[in-house]
């Protein structure tokens, strides 16, 4: 049973679910009839496949989670509209694919170098567009509230409102059906780990995400602007009195979060080519937010760790309990971790994270 991450969903109805259902689900669907399984054999069987696949998913969660965590660190705001920034990135990627002449359904007949170049181009477009969208969101939705010293609840409601507004605008613009499937790079096994095939896509996504994370981490911990971000996160008033321009720091924070969401959008669309749909950010956004909280919201390394753990754990849970339990496992895991470690695994915040 080769890992075929893109096997069409059996039901074909639940778009979001199918989007998130990983390859490992397919073999289960055939024989998993009881409402819950306890299939330790399958868990052991698929351990490595699940792990690698989970890491790839987790990388995407982590990149999005960084956006939640950065903004939370600086503003103590859960930017619920961040999931829509991600969706904007997905559409930017998709439309760039179209613009480059790729068509839904047809496998491109191009040399690998050209395809990689096109992927990079699409990624850059997605990062720029999502970064600008995030900065625009901050300007339009949050800055006016800050100017008026609005209570925190106002920010939260605005975030939820902005999320729905952007979502619906995309629906009006592109319709409610998912866009066609454009696959530039079909997954193909490159090598195996303990019998589990590892695809080129998984390798690219995991490595590229890690690279992006390292850049973001270095930026926050080693540069002047990053120091400004951490200073504002720890004590906005003092940071301002020390000459840190808080508004600028906030803008940069949103931009960085948007850029990372744009990168996540490319990786997502590489794995899930039919993923461009107006509400595609909802569950993914919640998962990424969960990852951020799991690792310790406000903590960059926590976001990475939380994303990877969540991605892997839901794959294990799916093998163990059955496909429908995937999301249940993810959120029960969150509740369990928070019960024993309310600040998340790495705990603390951007404010307190060590450089």
């Amino acid at each position: 049973m080769p890992a075929t991450p893109q096997a069409p969903d059996a039901s074909g109805e639940r778009v979001i679910a199918s989007v998130l259902d990983p390859a490992v689900l397919t073999p289960l669907v055939v024989h998993a009839q009881p409402w819950i399984n306890f299939d330790v054999g399958l868990l052991v069987d698929r351990f490595w496949a699940n792990t690698i696949n989970g890491l790839a998913y987790g990388s995407v969660y982590a990149l999005i989670a960084l956006g939640y965590t950065l903004v939370y660190g600086v503003l103590q705001l859960i930017n619920f509209a961040h999931s829509e920034i991600f969706v904007i990135g997905v559409f930017a990627t998709y439309l760039t694919f179209l613009g480059l002449g790729f068509q839904p359904g047809a496998l491109p007949n191009l040399p690998i170098a050209a395809i990689i170049l096109d992927l990079i181009l699409a990624g850059v477009v997605a990062m720029v567009v999502a970064g600008l969208a995030a900065v625009g969101l901050e300007r339009v939705a949050y800055r006016p509230l800050r100017r008026r010293n609005a209570p925190r609840l106002a920010f939260l409601i605005t975030a939820i409102g902005a999320s729905f507004a952007i979502q619906q605008v995309i629906r009006i613009w592109r319709g409610s059906n998912p866009e066609g499937t454009i696959r530039l790079l079909p997954p193909s096994p490159v090598f195996t780990i303990f019998g589990a095939p590892i695809t080129n896509l998984q390798i690219i996504i995991i490595l590229a995400s890690l690279a992006m994370f390292v850049v973001a981490d270095q930026f926050v911990n080693r540069s002047r602007l990053g120091r400004g971000i951490r200073a504002v996160a720890q004590d906005p008033a003092t940071a301002t009195l020390m000459g840190v321009n808080r508004e600028r720091v906030i803008m940069i924070t949103f931009a960085v979060g948007g850029i990372l969401a744009g990168a996540a959008a490319l990786f997502y669309l590489m794995t899930i080519p039919q993923g461009a749909v107006y509400n595609g950010g909802f569950l993914l956004g919640i998962k990424a937010f969960t990852a951020a909280v799991l690792g310790g919201i406000g903590n960059l390394r926590g976001a990475l760790l939380g994303g990877l753990i969540l991605g892997v754990a839901e794959n294990y849970g799916q093998s163990l309990f059955g496909g429908d339990w995937r999301d249940v496992v993810a959120f029960v895991l969150l509740v369990l971790v928070l019960m024993f470690r309310p600040t998340g695994i790495l705990g603390e915040s951007l404010a307190r994270s060590r450089a």
């Binding site: 850049v215 002047r224 602007l225 120091r227 720890q234 009195l241 307190r352």
Partner: protein, 314 residues
């Protein structure tokens, strides 16, 4: 960073602790001795300093409470000005206006003729006013060194692309910032703990770290808000020494402090506030003989035997 002209014995403990018992003449002699030992070149500058900061008719009201009522005074370049008064007199409010935390209800603060009161907060530090805080406000999770580097950042210009692309200028500024921060930690005497988190530092080190961070912004005016709070006698003397050293390095200092030993040991001039009004302004010796000051505050504080005077009047 040590001043070769400094007396070998510390000018702190012995000399300062006897300050309270000096009469005016002794006090003047003592001042001269300290000045000549610590900074022979400074005396004349202090005498004829030009105005660096002008506080002009400053009034601040919080609702019905008038925290500052038409307060005016000057800070001369190169001096250490003490801002004193009983609790609630408006000292910290005055500081907060000077550093942009609050806006004045009326009146203005001019640094070298430029108004600070309408300026954006983060700009004020670039204009050259830096401060420390009564309740220490360090970036607790950053190392001591990083805290100071945040201060140096106020003078740097790296753009976002510069930082992301690691342009040479960004590198140079980073390197310079770290070197300068390290030198400042040495200057205030805590370089041995540069790599420790700010929260892990002993209390006295944290106070010194705040001073180093403020100095890192290259201020024209350094505002110290109760720098000796919670210090032992020995620490206070060492702090006095540091403050004098800072002035002798060319900085102008305004200090809010309750501890009279520190105040009388370092200040060139005193401004006394009481209930938001300025009640005295002058040389420490004149001020502490001023009946209004004695009745408001100073008499009680200096003459430990009659603290009730201050309590009763305040």
């Amino acid at each position: 960073m040590t001043d070769p002209t400094r007396l070998d014995g510390d000018p702190g403990e012995g000399i300062l602790s006897s300050l309270e018992h000096m009469d005016a003449g002794e006090r003047a002699e003592h001042d001269a001795a300290v000045a000549s030992s610590v900074a022979p070149t400074r005396v004349s500058t202090v005498a004829q300093g030009e105005t660096l900061l002008a506080v002009d008719g400053l009034t601040v009201r919080f609702g019905g409470l008038t925290a500052l009522d038409d307060v005016s005074f000057d800070v001369k370049r190169g001096e250490i000005l003490g801002l004193i008064g009983p609790n609630g007199a408006g000292k910290t409010t005055c500081f907060n206006i000077m550093t942009g935390v609050y806006r004045p209800t009326s009146g203005d603060i001019l640094l070298e003729g430029r108004s600070l009161s309408r300026m954006k907060r983060y700009r004020i530090i670039q204009e050259g006013v830096a401060r420390t805080f009564q309740n220490i406000r360090l970036f607790g999770a950053m190392t001591a060194l990083e805290n100071v580097v945040v201060g140096t950042d106020a003078r740097h210009r790296t753009s976002v692309p510069g930082a992301l692309l690691r342009l040479p200028r960004h590198h140079r500024e980073e390197k310079e910032g770290v070197e300068k921060a390290m030198a400042l930690l040495e200057f205030v005497g805590i370089a041995d703990r540069a790599a420790d988190k700010a929260t892990a530092l002993p209390y006295g080190y944290q106070r010194r770290l705040e001073i180093a961070r403020a100095l890192a912004t290259e201020p024209k005016l350094l505002c110290l808000d109760e720098p000796a709070a919670g210090f032992s006698a020995t620490e206070k003397d060492a702090l006095s020494e540091l403050i004098l050293k800072i002035r002798d390095d060319g900085y102008t200092v305004v200090i809010v402090e309750h501890d009279m030993r520190v105040v009388l040991g370092v200040t060139d001039r005193l401004v006394v506030l009481d209930f938001g009004r300025k009640i005295a302004d002058g040389h420490p010796d004149e001020v502490r003989r001023d009946p209004a000051v004695i009745s408001a505050y100073l008499g009680g504080a200096i003459d430990e035997a009659t603290p009730a005077v201050a309590e009763g009047d305040a």
